[in-house]
């Protein structure tokens, strides 16, 4: 019997070593995440984590996730990106153009999955065949700007002059605004570009626009403005400006309406890109994924507050109505 036990033990050992050979013995993959929000509350990062979990990754078990929180301080991002690179990750996740810029400066070799809203073409040469080490998901925020303007006109048919608030940090925005003039014309509107460079300038800039007889507000999405959404929404209410935004978070904060991607969905889908890259896909072979789910969110409370009657046809279009 003793001999048989020994034999079984040897057999088990052989089986174990076989199993060990079948799977790479290398340590768990390391993913560095350069986040814009703060560690306290970040639904998007939570959505990303959930996305990983859904794909079978368990943090600390078969994936190591290292997050650096910029907490809105974009100027800290280059340093945070370098920190992450020193951590020697297998992959980096970057959000917002500032984050992508920081990560690109820090590494040319580590694969990067970017979650960026604004023209993907500016960071990735061809979104179907991204060359280099970058791929990711894009929310098509800019592509939808004409649609947003149209929807704003539909919701508030009486408007004529629309203030366009944007952050000139993004060099593409000026061109975007220029193109929007044509769109506005077809809708019988005129645009009043309101350029800012920091959040502190918003209040006075908007006051200036109102003085210039702007009767509506179009906010071009930007991380900086996204962070300042509460004050923007308050200012819009204060000046009784029907306003449209890129994300529902503005509307939840009291904005009139938004049309755009669901951010959490975007972050969740970024996880599948991460998974593909970790499984050996080259970023250059993974097309940048475009958002396909858009939602129209309307805040009826805000509408009522500014005496705006929203037509039933328009409400029928809305995916989400905040009473």
């Amino acid at each position: 019997m003793n001999r048989r036990d020994t034999f079984l033990a040897v057999l088990a050992l052989a089986a174990v070593s076989l199993a060990a050979m079948a799977q790479p013995v290398a340590g768990v993959p390391r993913v560095g995440f350069l986040a814009n929000g703060s560690a306290k509350a970040s639904p998007s990062v939570d959505a990303f984590r959930k996305g990983l979990r859904d794909l079978g990754y368990i943090e600390g078990e078969n994936i190591a996730l290292e997050i650096r929180w910029a907490a809105g301080r974009f100027e800290s991002m280059p340093e945070l990106a370098l920190e992450l690179v020193r951590w020697r990750p297998d992959l980096l996740v970057a959000v917002v153009p500032q984050g992508l810029r920081a990560v690109r400066a820090a590494t040319k070799s580590i694969p990067v999955v970017v979650i960026a809203c604004d023209p993907a073409e500016s960071v990735v040469e061809n979104i179907a065949r991204p060359s280099g080490n970058i791929t990711g998901v894009t929310c098509m925020a800019s592509d939808l700007t004409p649609k947003r303007l149209q929807l704003l006109k539909e919701a508030a048919p009486k408007i004529h002059r629309v203030a366009v608030l944007y952050n000139s940090f993004d060099p593409n925005k000026a061109e975007e605004v220029r193109q929007m003039h044509d769109v506005a014309r077809t809708l019988g509107l005129s645009l009043l570009p309101v350029e800012i460079r920091d959040a502190g300038a918003i209040e006075s800039a908007l006051a200036g626009a109102v003085r210039a007889r702007a009767d509506a507000l179009l906010v071009l999405n930007d991380p900086l403005l996204y962070q300042a959404r509460r004050s923007i929404v308050e200012l819009a209410a204060k000046h009784r400006l029907p306003a449209t935004y890129a994300f529902r978070e503005y509307v939840e904060a009291g904005g009139l309406m938004s049309y755009g991607t669901m951010q959490n969905d975007l972050f969740r889908r970024a996880a599948s890109h991460v998974s593909k890259v970790l499984k050996g896909a080259k970023p250059a072979e993974l097309p940048v994924e475009q958002a396909t789910l858009f939602e129209l969110v309307v805040n009826l409370k805000t509408a009522r507050a500014m005496g705006l009657a929203i037509s039933p046809t328009f409400l029928m279009r809305a995916d989400s109505v905040i009473e």
Binding site: R3, R4, F7, L8, L11, A15, N126, I127, A128, R129, M140, D143, L144, P146, K147, L149, Q150, V183, T186, L187, A281, E285, L286, P287, V288, E289, Q290, T292, L293, F294, T313, M316, R317, D319
Partner: protein, 578 residues
């Protein structure tokens, strides 16, 4: 322990080869069947998945097509009003079907009148001429048109579906096909199994690896794709790396697409590792068990065999009382019983034999005794013994013996006056008495010749007093007859002659042999008798010399003896009394 290397290897080999053979055979069969079952199971599973995917994709497309068809006929006469109603219908459609990104109404002349989009600004009365486009041509002919798959911004797969619109014209919708990808990429079979969709031309429509689709790959080179069987089924095909795959497919008839679900064939072999390991373990366990079983069996067999062997050996050595204790209750027990029975039988027959031998020996001894007695009656003891020991007796010369002769006087007259039988009876009685006398006196009876009785002393064993012995015998014979004559009807008288000298003694003849003596001494003794007187013992001078100091004798002088001339003779009177 020699037996171990006889029975143990034999039985061990037999049992091990039986057990191992059975196990190997059963394992091979089970693995073979398990392989086929795995393949069948996988094929079934893949077929189901392919069929399911095809059904879902088709259902998805058909649902969208139906939804497009359900856009109600806008009522009212006012063209403006009708346009607005149609717009609302299309907005409803966008709400209900998230996959539709854009929907347009093309009027009967092929001009776009209404365009509602999720991505771009809505258009009305653009009047764009679409009359030459397939989506208009087919749909205006009353058929539903499914366009080819194209990619928005080179990443999002789209297909145009158009069908006749209620109230005239054509409704054309741009449908996002990501759902098809979701269906396809969600199909997981085994470890590396995957699903993909190709169109009728073999172009890849959906594949978990999106880049393959974007490269506009054509899979017509793969055997399973080029066959393009309309019937669902499974076959062995090859993937684009030329590895063998188990490929199942199901057509989507509406779209003329084909869903393939494939697994590398190597995975089927992996499914066999577990049964193979099981079989190996079973084989090892079987071998161990059979070795133990062989050992136990041989031990169980050899122990009683050894006991039998020992018992048989002991019985063979004569220990018939030995009993073999078995108590196994089987054939060996019976065998032991037979051994024991044999021992008992052997003992019984051996005892009978011994008894018979003893009886025969006793008989033989009796027989020998009688023969000896007979011989002793005929022959002197020494001669008889020599004869019975060696089968013959040597003649020997005896230098000094005494011979005694008796003869009845008047015997011839008596014979003629007496019946023969009476005569023999008389002689027998007298000679029997003489035999006793000679015996008692240590004289050897030699023979009787007619009525004469001859005896000798000093032979075959020499003795010093042979003369005295014969004299004593002669005197007693005379005295016996005197005594007998007092009461007997017939009165007998005898003459006794004794002479001493050398003789040759021996046994002659082959049958009825007789001890006899030869020599002149015998003749002289006979003369001494015939020259004697009735009732007297007549002795020669030779004898006289030997006995005169023991017996008183009366010298008779020289008496003529026939053929011997004159011889000194004496009558013995009586023993000297001292």
């Amino acid at each position: 322990m020699k037996y171990r290397w006889l029975l143990f290897p034999k039985y061990a080999t037999l049992i091990i080869s039986l057990v191992a053979g059975m196990l190997v055979a059963s394992s091979v069969f089970s693995i073979l069947f398990s392989y086929r079952e795995t393949q069948e199971h996988l094929a079934t599973l893949q077929n189901e998945k392919a069929g399911g995917a095809a059904a879902r994709i088709e259902q998805y497309i058909l649902d969208i097509e139906r939804q497009i068809g359900w856009t109600a006929l806008p009522g009212g006469d006012d063209d403006r009003d009708r346009m607005e109603r149609r717009r609302i219908e299309y907005l409803k459609l966008l709400r209900q079907v998230p996959a539709i990104t854009e929907v347009a109404w093309i009027d009967a002349s092929g001009r776009e009148q209404l365009h509602v989009s999720r991505l771009t600004m809505d258009r009305q009365r653009s009047g764009i001429d679409l009359s030459r486009q397939e989506k208009f041509v087919q749909a205006s002919a009353g058929k539903t048109h499914y366009g080819t798959v194209h990619f928005l911004k080179d990443t999002e797969p789209y297909m145009t579906i158009s069908r006749p619109a209620q109230g005239g014209g054509v409704t054309a919708a741009e449908v996002n096909l990501k759902f098809v990808w979701d269906v396809v990429s969600r199909i997981k079979v085994g470890k590396a199994g995957l699903a993909y969709v190709v169109d009728a031309g073999g172009s890849l429509i959906a594949h978990p690896d999106i880049s393959l689709v974007l490269k506009k790959s054509n899979l017509m080179t793969l055997p399973q794709v080029s066959t393009m069987s309309k019937e669902p089924g499974a076959s062995i095909g090859r993937d684009r790396f030329d590895q063998e795959v188990l490929s199942a497919h199901a057509p989507i008839p509406t779209l003329n697409w084909m869903v393939f679900v494939e697994t590398p064939r190597s995975e089927m072999f992996e499914a066999l590792y577990a049964p193979m390991l099981r079989a190996a373990l079973l084989l090892i366990a079987g071998l161990v068990i059979s070795i133990v079983a062989a050992y136990l069996l041989v031990r169980a067999l050899v122990r009683p065999l050894l006991a039998l062997q020992e018992g048989a050996a002991r019985i063979g050595a004569g220990e018939f009382d030995r009993r073999i204790e078995m108590n196994t209750g089987d054939e060996l027990d019976d065998l032991a019983g037979q051994f024991n029975q044999m021992g008992a039988d052997l003992k019984a027959s051996y005892a009978g034999l011994e008894r018979k031998v003893a009886e025969r020996t006793l008989e033989l001894q009796h027989e020998q005794l009688r023969t000896k007695e007979l011989l002793h009656n005929i022959l002197p003891v020494e001669i008889a013994e020599e004869l019975s020991a060696t089968g013959g007796a040597r003649s020997a010369r005896h230098e000094s013996v005494t011979i005694l002769f008796t003869d009845f006087s008047g015997f011839t007259q008596a014979v003629s006056t007496m019946p023969a039988d009476r005569m023999v009876a008389e002689l027998n009685e007298i000679f029997a008495a003489f035999d006793d006398i000679t015996d008692e006196c240590g004289v050897e009876k030699i023979k009787t010749i007619g009525d004469a009785y001859m005896a000798a002393a000093g032979l075959p064993r020499p003795c010093a007093d042979h003369g005295q012995r014969c004299i004593r015998a002669g005197l007693r014979m005379v005295a016996y007859l005197e005594h007998r004559n007092r009461s007997a009807a017939f009165k007998w008288s005898i003459r006794v002659g004794v002479h001493s000298g050398p003789v040759v003694a021996g046994v002659v003849g082959k049958r009825k042999y007789a001890f006899d003596i030869w020599g002149d001494t015998v003749n002289v003794a006979s003369r001494m008798e015939s020259a004697g007187e009735v009732g007297r013992v007549n002795i020669s001078a030779y004898t006289y010399d030997l006995i005169q100091k023991d017996f008183e004798c009366e010298y008779r002088g020289k008496v003529s003896a026939k053929g011997k001339g004159e011889i000194d003779m004496y009558f013995v009177k009586e023993p000297r009394s001292d």
